[in-house]
Structures are given as C-alpha cells and as structure tokens.
C-alpha cells in the first residue's frame, strides 16, 4: 500500500519580502501556470455567475449572510460557551487551542491515548494552517489526506494552491505522472475516471484501517451543539463515521447561534465556491455513537483554534475578516491570484482573503508586504458572499505595516514594514499637495523642466514608456483661455 512521501513543502515560516517577490516573478513568467489558472478561474467564475441569475436575490442573500455572520461575531464569546456546553452535553469533548502548537499537542495527545498509527483526513484548511501533517509525521503517525485534491497535493509534496480546489494548479497529465510514480502498481493513465478510481481504491482501504478520522467544520451551531461539514466526495462522511475516533478542528469564528442560520450560509457558500446549488454531502455531527446505534465514532473531539483570530476580533474593523465562510470566490475573481496562482503567496490561505487573515495568524513581520500585492480593483469585495470589505482591510493593513513601530503594538508585527525614507517621502508629498503655493510651484517646476524627467521610473518603465509632465498644466490652459 502506498504511503505518501513526507510532505517536503517548506513550512510556513515564510515570507521574507524578497522571497515573496521571487515567487511572484517566477509565477508570472510561468506560461503553463498562467494559462491553467486563467482557464480554471474563468470556469469557476462562470459557474458562480450561473448560480446567481438574479442580481437582487444575490444581493438579499449577501445581506442576510453578512448579517448572520456579524450577529454571530457580535456574540462570539457567549456563543462559544454555549457551543461548548451543548457539545459536551452531546458527548463531544471540546478543547481550546490558542495556537498551532497547542492544537497539535492536543491532537497528538488524543492520538497517543488511542495508540493511533494512522489518521485519515477530510479536507480541512485549519489543519493546513497548523501544519497538522508535519506534526503527526514527526511523531511517527501517518496522516493521509482523503479529499482527492488534497491527496494529490500530499502525494506531490505540495501545499494546496486554492482553499476549495487544492490541486487546481495540476493538470491531469501531471496527476497521471504523479500516480504512476508514487502509487505502487499503477501504470500511467490520464483518463480522469481511472485516476479517480485509483485514488478511491487507495483511500477505501485507509478508511477501514485508520485509527482516527480528522475533519474540519464549516459551521458550528451553538444552540444544538452540532458540527456541520460541507463536502462533495463522501470522504468527509467516511472520516467522521468509520474510524473509532473523530477529531474535528475549526477556527473559533465558525460558530453560529441557531440551526436556521446555517441554511442561508450553506446556500451561498456552495454557490459562491463551486457554483453548485448544493453540495453532494452535508454532514451534521451531534455527538459520538449512542448505545443503540450501529455505527459512528465512539469518541468525538472538537478543537477550537484561535491562532490570531482574537487579535482580529479585538478590532472593530479587522473583525470583519472573521466573517469569512471560506468559499474561495475572492481568489477565483482576483486578477492577481489568476496571474500568480496560490503557491506564490506562501501562506496557507492564498488570494485576497489570505492577505487579510494571514497577518493575524503569522504576524506582520513576515507578512507586511502581503497586503500590497493588490491593485485594489475591488473584484474580491464585489463577490464576497458575506460582504467583507477586503480592499478597505488591505488598506488598513498597509497602514499598520508601515506605521512607526510602537512599544506595545495591538497587531503582532505592527510597523514591520516601516521605512524611514518612504515615510519621509510621503510626508514631503503631503507637504507639497496640502499647500496650494507649494503645489503650484512643484507642478510649475515639473512642467517647466520636463526635459529633466528621469527616463527610468522605478517599476513603471519596466513595461511602459516613461511618464512626462505636459508642457502646460491644466491650470495654465484654463487661465490662458479665460
């Protein structure tokens, strides 16, 4: 039986600004990557658009979804307590983890108590966020991805390049080659159905023998103590019902108060994400197997992870980041993501949403350049099903990154992108543009001595002819005419 090779992808201790620039440079010059992402994103945009033929219905559903998420966040501490109480009453063991290490330690403890050798995983971005597979591997426990896309990236030793479609960067030929190389007894085939059958065969056996199943959570319902899981492949159902132990992990922001809050969010999630009216599977998990039940896990655990979320929560504006339901529509519609793909970002969550959540998870020391990787075109905010004002939050984070470092920063790494010359430049700019006299003098000089305009203008002239002031400013033309 095959075991994926150890995940050799770099851990997330990542983003020096230089490394980010290097990855971006390589990505935009990779024609294969450019073509495949463009095609895939066009496909997903069209699928989503087909789900929302009625703009006013979409608008109402976005309003409703936004208000449900904002309402839930407004009561977050009490909803989390209520969730814990009801889950506990249902027989689910609830654990709190402040960061990735704590989460992994908790889950490793559970695994050790059961002398677990193998864990089979449903798709979970939070498990990616905490580098769960690395942690288990280091402890000698196999953690096998069972979502087809996740299985592919794990086999390839990569990370997901998209939060919904983790292997979107791989062509079927690449996957065929990967399977032939890595799965014993498999010959090369690029027949998609055959490839899926290969994965299915491997995974079926894993489900039967795994000691623990791991899953994420899309919505946690406080009033009933229910964990909702959205999926298409049935692997989530297998992970949460076949092994004797089920561990679910999620971010603390995923809680909603009532069951009725789930329906609109679920509806807008699948339509925004994959353009499906509804997903193939929707799992509602309310506890371990009861004495009279024939199947289901004997133990269910929920790990509630903070990992920077409470930092975002503490700030009224940045709290909107936590409204996210992880649909991925922002990346599908992002002209930057389309051109650099998911890996270039170097974060667990790529694309527009990644640029506003990662600074809380990783601190601005590592991520201070990330919010600048956007033309602020607003496509992300326009499609966000819960109306997160992503461009506004990017601007805010740009400001926080470049502010003068303080002794007691509210955001980890605040001021990490501070540059004295740049600050001085903008202060000078403001000094000129806020004073009519200075502005007139400056533009007069720029116009009069236009011949002296530099021919090399930083990034501009990399691809364009230089900008040159006009010989007469508009104000001169206006004055001369009247």
């Amino acid at each position: 039986m095959s075991t994926p090779q150890s995940n050799t992808a770099q851990p997330l201790a990542f983003v020096s600004a230089q490394a980010l620039r290097k990855r971006i440079h390589e990505a935009v010059n990779d024609t294969h990557l450019r073509t495949s992402f463009r095609g895939a994103m066009d496909f997903l945009m069209a699928k989503r658009a087909a789900q929302f033929p009625d703009a006013s219905e979409l608008s109402s559903l976005r309003d409703l979804s936004e208000s449900i998420r904002q309402y839930s966040l407004s009561k977050l501490p009490e909803l989390l307590e209520q969730l814990e109480a009801n889950l506990t009453r249902n027989g689910v063991q609830v654990h709190w983890a402040s960061d990735a290490d704590e989460a992994n330690t908790i889950m490793l403890g559970i695994a050790r108590r059961h002398a677990a050798k193998s864990i089979v995983k449903g798709k979970s971005m939070v498990s990616e966020e905490i580098e769960f597979n690395h942690a288990m591997e280091a402890a000698g426990i196999e953690a096998l991805e069972s979502d087809m896309g996740e299985y592919i990236v794990q086999l390839a030793g990569e990370k997901p390049s998209h939060i919904i479609m983790p292997a979107i960067h791989q062509t079927k030929e690449q996957i065929a080659r990967l399977f032939a190389d890595k799965v014993p007894g498999v010959d090369y085939t690029d027949n998609v159905d055959a490839l899926i059958q290969i994965g299915r065969r491997v995974l079926r056996e894993k489900f039967e023998h795994a000691d623990i199943g791991l899953s994420g959570v899309n919505f946690a319902v406080a009033e009933t103590g229910t964990l909702c899981l959205v999926e298409n492949e049935g692997n989530g159902r297998m992970c949460t019902t076949v092994p004797k132990v089920h561990m679910a992990i999620t971010g603390i922001e995923k809680v909603v108060e009532k069951l009725e809050h789930v329906a609109p969010l679920y509806s807008i999630l699948t339509r925004s994400a994959t353009g499906q009216a509804i997903s193939t599977y929707f799992n509602m998990i309310s506890g371990p197997r009861k004495p009279d039940e024939k199947d289901g896990p004997e133990e269910v655990h929920l790990i509630l992870l903070d990992n920077g979320r409470s930092q975002a929560y503490a700030d009224e504006q940045l709290r909107k980041t936590l409204q996210c339901i992880r649909c991925g529509a922002c990346m599908n519609h992002c002209p930057v993501y389309t051109r650099i793909g998911g890996h270039a970002y170097g974060t667990t969550y790529p694309g527009p949403i990644g640029k506003i959540v990662s600074p809380h998870m990783m601190g601005l020391e590592q991520t201070h350049l990330l919010p600048t990787v956007s033309s602020l075109c607003g496509a992300c905010g326009e499609v966000c099903p819960v109306r997160i004002p992503i461009p506004e939050l990017l601007i805010r984070l740009r400001g926080e990154a470049q502010s003068e470092p303080h002794a007691d920063p509210a955001l980890a790494g605040q001021g990490a992108g501070y540059s004295k010359p740049l600050s001085l430049l903008w202060r000078t700019w403001a000094g000129i543009y806020a004073s009519p006299g200075n502005y007139r003098l400056f533009t007069w000089l720029a116009s009069r001595f236009r011949a002296l305009t530099p021919k090399q203008q930083s990034g501009w002239t990399a691809a364009r002819t230089p900008l040159k002031p006009a010989p007469r400013r508009l104000r001169d033309m206006v004055r001369e005419r009247h």
Partner: protein, 271 residues
C-alpha cells in the same frame, strides 16, 4: 458614508447653472488636454465651469498606499474649495469615488470636518455620469464610422457605477461601434502605487489588457480614467517601440476628448 455595498443608484439634481471642476492631479500635470476637453464639453452645454485654483489632489495615492495621516492632511486642505452648493464634476472615476465615499472617513473624527466631507461627497459626480444623467448629453456624431473599445476603471465601475454610463454615451454617437474585449471588467493593473511596487504583476495585467483590446481590432481605446489611460497607452507604446513600429498600435484618449471631437467641438491642442 462608506464604500457602497448595495446599490450605486442615486438621485440626480436638475441641470445647474454652474459646476466646480475638480481636475485631479494626474490630469493637471500629465493629461491637461483631457481636462480642457471636459471643461469645453460642459461649457458647450451651457454650464459655467468653476476651476478652484487651490485644488491639488484627492489624497488617494497616500490613502491607498497606507499613509492615512498624509492623505488626511491633503484632503483637509481641499475641503474649502467648494463653498457654493454646486455639483462637483470629476473627470476620473477613482478620484470621484475618493471624494464621494472616502473623504468623510479620511478626515477623521472631527464631526464638523466629517459633515463637510460628506456634503462634498454627496454632490460629487464623475464626468460621464454627469453628462448623461444630469445634462442628458445628446449631440450629433460628425465623425467617420469607427470602432472603439472602452475600458472602465475599477473604481468607476465599483464605486461610481460608470461602466454603463460610458457605454450609453458611446451608444449615442451614431457612427461609433463599441467593440467588447475579453475580460472587459478586469483591472488593467494600474492600481496607483501598485504599478510601481509590484511591476511583475502589474505588467502581466496590463499586457493582458492591451492584448485583449488590440484583439478587438478597435482603432482606439477610450476611457474616463487617466490612470488607466496612461497605464494602457504607455504599455502599448512600449510594445510598439520594442517591435520597431512607427504607428501606434493602440492609441487611447479620454472619453471627454473623444466625445468632444466626434460632436464637432474644438479639442485642446495636444502637446
């Protein structure tokens, strides 16, 4: 007021006797002809155009780059430019959006400043929107039949809803055919300081935009935003230069210039 999320629909005032013209820094220094042509268009419709001498910039460069204090300083310096209750017309969607949606927040907590900024925002109009909805622009097209492409800036589209307005104005010119380009609603990659800070991505975006525009076979690209205009045309110029072409493969002009020229107006002399 904040960035719009629901509807951009707004009520339009009756035709005023006069307007303020807020040219924007880019037009003042780099594309003054576009500003002049916009003024001519308005004056030809019988509108007196007031050009506040002390205008400089809407503060957007500092605001979007993450220097809110510097943006605030510039915005506060601009709040006294429009003392009379007249519409403010801006020949740029992104700068108009800045006045309309962001000035109120940029100025900070002072209620008096906020009120002043909000009042300015409420009477700020993007030029094309003003021509269509307030003046009901309708002139005879005197030009030869021509096919053009239209690019709408992202801010104009998402903050001012002007992509439809531009199309409607062009549709009112009898001899103009509008060619739609691939991924028309996608950003051209300008993004202000983004084009300087991330040249790799910005170049990829603008190259795709130029290719899509050229692929339509349109004789020129028309846009109501000078940031996009400079980005697209300077990119196309560079491609021509690199390929040794003498003639511009994708000339471009501001919508104001195009409208004025097509309808028998005297466009400002090019430099």
């Amino acid at each position: 007021m904040s960035n719009p999320s629901n509807s951009l629909a707004r009520a339009y005032p009756p035709r005023p006797a006069a307007v303020y013209f807020y040219a924007t820094c880019l037009v003042d220094l780099f594309v003054p002809e576009a500003g002049m042509d916009a003024i001519s268009l308005l004056e030809r419709e019988g509108i007196r155009v007031i050009f506040p001498e002390n205008q400089s910039c809407c503060g957007q460069p500092a605001f979007t780059t993450g220097f809110p204090q510097e943006a605030r300083k510039v915005v506060v310096s601009q709040l006294e430019l429009f003392p009379e209750e007249l519409p403010i017309v801006v020949p740029s969607g992104s700068c108009a959006g800045m006045l309309r949606w962001h000035w109120e927040n940029v100025v900070g907590d002072d209620p008096a400043l906020r009120a002043k900024a909000a009042a300015i925002g409420a009477r700020t109009y993007e030029l094309a929107e003003f021509l269509l909805h307030v003046l009901g622009f309708q002139r005879h097209d005197e030009g030869e039949p021509v096919t053009v492409a239209l690019h709408t800036s992202c801010s104009a589209r998402r903050e001012m809803g002007t992509h439809l307005v531009g199309r409607e104005l062009l549709a009112r010119l009898g001899n103009v055919t509008l060619a739609h380009h691939d991924h028309e609603s996608e950003c051209c990659g300008f993004g202000g300081t983004f084009s300087l800070k991330h040249p790799d991505i910005s170049t990829a975006m603008v190259s795709d935009k130029v290719a899509a525009l050229k692929a339509t076979g349109a004789r020129e690209v028309v846009t109501a935003d000078c940031g996009c205009l400079l980005n697209i045309t300077k990119r196309a110029e560079k491609e021509d230069l690199d390929a040794g072409r003498r003639q511009a493969s994708l000339p471009g002009e501001h919508l104001a210039t195009f409208l004025l020229r097509r309808t028998g107006g005297q466009v400002a002399q090019r430099s």
